[in-house]
């Protein structure tokens, strides 16, 4: 174990790949490894990139990776892949776009699949980001597809999250705002050369002016990711939001959420699926009441 951790810290890619698999499969070895590595984390900037399908998140991530590489930063990429009925095609396309970096030893890319964990994707993603952090990555990009529940959970755990939107969303920035407002550190208008970009920007500003923010108002940056336009400005905005938020207080806030997610995951995983099934059956048939069942679970652990 100390050997494994050391190899990871030295930048051994095979040791890192093995660790990433262990983290994704939630093995006990992963827990022990992460415990060992934890003191060496806290250096990477964890950047979330999220938004609706087709918004160009991967092209944008690609552009940001290029810039970071030009600064000789090491970059970890976690592509979160909810087993959505839709994700198949999009994900394949996205991965192909990112393949330009596969040959670059300064970029480590890892996809994460859902697999129906009771505890959700968020704790596994956090662990993966910590692993990359301990392995000496300067930045970890967490790309999530869609704006569902898992994505919001994950984005809340990043240091800063960029929400990517595109023109032509009509009146409907509204519809996605509920989850997004909470997590957006930066808004990126991609495909900003298309008609409707002005309108989208106005809508975002209108939305922001209505919201009661804890911190500063998220900046809105226009990009044309496919041509590399505005990417430097986007990265600058991401970094300055992360900086403004103040290291410690922000970090404590994030750890509050992460600890709860970890606790929750471990607890949910303690109930065997068969037991849960039979409990649900008993309640559905009104043979038992749910309050007594949950009490019993609580007493037992």
């Amino acid at each position: 174990m100390p050997e494994w951790a050391q190899q990871i810290r030295k930048g051994n890619v095979r040791a890192l790949a093995r660790a990433a698999s262990a983290v994704e499969n939630r093995t006990p070895a992963a827990d022990a490894l992460l415990r060992k590595l934890f003191p060496h984390t806290g250096n990477a900037l964890v950047i979330g990139i999220t938004g609706p399908p087709g918004a160009g998140k991967s092209t944008l991530a690609d552009g940001i990776i290029r810039l970071l590489r030009r600064e000789e930063q090491r970059v970890g990429v976690i592509a979160v892949d909810p087993t959505s009925p839709y994700s198949g095609g999009a994900i394949l396309g996205d991965r192909i776009r990112m393949q330009s970096h596969y040959a670059d030893p300064g970029v480590f890319i890892r996809s994460m699949a859902t697999r129906g964990h009771l505890g959700g994707l968020a704790p596994a993603t956090t662990d993966m980001a910590l692993l990359f952090d301990a392995a000496g990555m300067d930045a970890v990009i967490v790309e999530t597809v869609g704006v569902g529940q898992d994505e919001v959970d994950i984005a809340r755990l990043a240091d800063v999250t960029a929400v990517v939107l595109v023109p032509g969303m009509g009146d409907d920035v509204q519809a996605i705002k509920a989850g997004i407002m909470e997590i957006a550190g930066v808004f990126l208008i991609n495909k900003a050369d298309q008609p409707g970009a002005d309108r989208l920007e106005r809508e975002i500003h209108a939305m922001l002016s209505l919201a009661h923010h804890d911190g500063p108002t998220p900046p809105v940056v226009r990009v044309v990711a496919s041509e590399g336009g505005g990417i430097a400005e986007a990265l600058h905005a991401i970094r300055s939001v992360a900086g403004d938020r103040g290291g410690h207080e922000r970090s404590e806030h994030i750890w509050r959420r992460r600890l709860l997610e970890m606790y929750r995951e471990r607890l949910l995983n303690r109930i065997p699926a068969a037991e849960l099934d039979s409990a649900a059956r008993a309640v559905a048939l009104r043979r038992k009441d749910p309050y007594s069942i949950v009490d019993e679970w609580l007493r037992r652990i």
Copy 2:
């Protein structure tokens, strides 16, 4: 206690109102009461109504309540009010629209506010629905605003959820589909007399044809809620979806989720906020690792 439960079952509105407050405030008395009442539940149809702000959910709920009342059904309404920066205005307007029922003793309306419970809104909403069920309501309508995480959690716990959409959402049914596809039992196109209704219907069908469904494909019904058009068809669709799903299997499935939510809420509430804060601080400063902290919590309970 037996007295209180009996009064509720007899339809005493004051006893019910007191119980609803206890449930919302998560008091120990509420737990004991629900345990007592649970054997008398399982009769009400729990209908979720969700969708983006401005889709006309309350007007629609209002129409459905009217129909149910014509059948002399007793109806409970739970209006879930996430403390979103946006909800203020919308909620006020919505509540006013429902006030026509406040004078009707066959309709019991209750708003639920978030209040930052660690365990989320879903367990409290489930308990409230069970309370209404035990009080002899034939239907419980759970109306949620927006399509955020809390709303999805809540909708998953209903017997059937109607997702309300309106024309003019552009290409962007997409953007909200991630969370919604999982929970939609019925799609309702409201304001179906407006331009774009055909297009929206095509988009919904296209979306559904791509999805891998467990059960039957959700029906799509057009309504003009403000004029009462299509409401009877909407209610019919909701009931037949609830019926098709097969009482038991569906009920077991829902109870599986509900039990986990209840378990999760009770566990999360066991960690005092001050302790969570200081743990988060220790981790942010790298004085402790999160894995050891969570282990300690797990050992202690």
